[in-house]
Subunit: 229 residues, 2 copies
């Protein structure tokens, strides 16, 4: 589970991109919020450090060092440590919402569940740092950022409820469950899977996640309504 995937930090002296190397100490901040490539690199690095040490355990010094710069320079790219966290969480949650809206276009509940978790597995593998941080450190967000996150989770909740309501109408939801139960169990399973990945279980090289998802489908979809796999 290689953190800080591509070794940043050594390219300080190499002239990979001669542009924006040593920008002649320009006015000052203001443009902090802009999405330059270097800023993206800073956020990526912050995500990697947060994922490994936790938001509170990660120092801005450690992030700067991983980037090969000093703290003061880091603050040219991010407005604050908390600001970096907010961006990481928003990106992580946005992706989950995208996957869900994609999955909803499938025609049966079991296919929808399979598709959603397949996307999430790939996401865990390719953007593990973002997923981990947005789950584990969400509650360290500032209040304004928390509100923006709340918007996303509300949309996520609504989309998933709609999916389960339609499935129920098609007779594809087990009679013991309401759509709300379905949503709780599905989000909870996603959390369980993410936590398992976080604790070091490699989901890429075994079939645990597939079997888990099929087990979930057996519990959620009445037998005669499941299309099998």
């Amino acid at each position: 589970m290689g953190l800080v995937s591509n070794s940043i930090g050594s390219e300080k002296k190499s002239a990979i991109s001669p542009v924006d190397e040593l920008p002649p100490y320009v006015s000052r901040r203001e443009l902090t919020g802009k999405h330059t490539a270097r800023r993206k690199q800073a956020i990526d690095t912050a995500a990697a450090i947060f994922a490994r040490l936790g938001y509170q355990g990660a120092s801005t010094r450690a992030i700067a060092e991983a980037l090969g710069i000093k703290v003061a320079s880091l603050y040219f790219h991010i407005a604050s440590k908390e600001d970096a966290l907010a961006e990481i969480c928003l990106l992580g949650m946005q992706r989950s919402l995208d996957y869900l809206e994609e999955a909803r276009r499938k025609t049966t509940l079991d296919e929808q569940i399979r598709h959603f978790f397949a996307c999430q597995r790939d996401d865990l593998i390719h953007h593990a740092d973002y997923v981990i941080v947005s789950i584990r450190d969400r509650d360290h967000l500032s209040d304004p950022a928390k509100n923006r996150i709340r918007d996303l989770t509300a949309r996520f909740r609504i989309t998933m409820d709609e999916m389960f309501v339609l499935a129920e109408a098609r007779g594809e939801l087990h009679p013991a469950l309401t759509p709300r139960h379905g949503r709780f169990i599905m989000i909870g399973t996603l959390r369980g899977i993410s936590e398992m990945y976080l604790s070091g279980v490699d989901l890429a090289s075994n079939d645990i996640m597939d079997r888990w998802v099929e087990t979930l489908i057996r519990g959620v979809v009445p037998e005669n309504k499941s299309t099998g796999v």
Copy 2:
């Protein structure tokens, strides 16, 4: 979800227990490890603060303040912040292991699963702080403490594998699953449920957890082998 349940901190001046009030500044430490009632109170309070702010976000000052004493005095009862964490995690994990060993004495897999999660739900409700901290802050333990935890999780794993192996022999494990799959899915579901509780879902006053567990059983136990509920 009342943290720091019974208001400590005000009894500093009241002479509830005249013993050990202002112990004539005895030799010094050494007995730090002893299990006095006041020590238990200190660990309980630490668990509450850790649960609310996270291990790294919780200061020893905050713990001391909640106890109504100064930091220096706190260190009379605990050897270090990390030491308090270790004790909290060990107590939390030990209980899970006890529940599992109790559940294993049931005769069918679905009853075993039901019993285990019923115990865990009560545990979440009555010892939420310990459960939360031992899940969320486990990785901040010192190496020696980590090893002691590893012993417990190893025994937990073995016990659960044994339970699933016997269930498989009785034909009570779904043919798509190995005992190892069963263990992963069950521990993962426990984590998902705990995370859900942690994020504010009140498991005591609704049926979400029951329905979730029944959904798990439908996915894990072949239909003709389930005793229903």
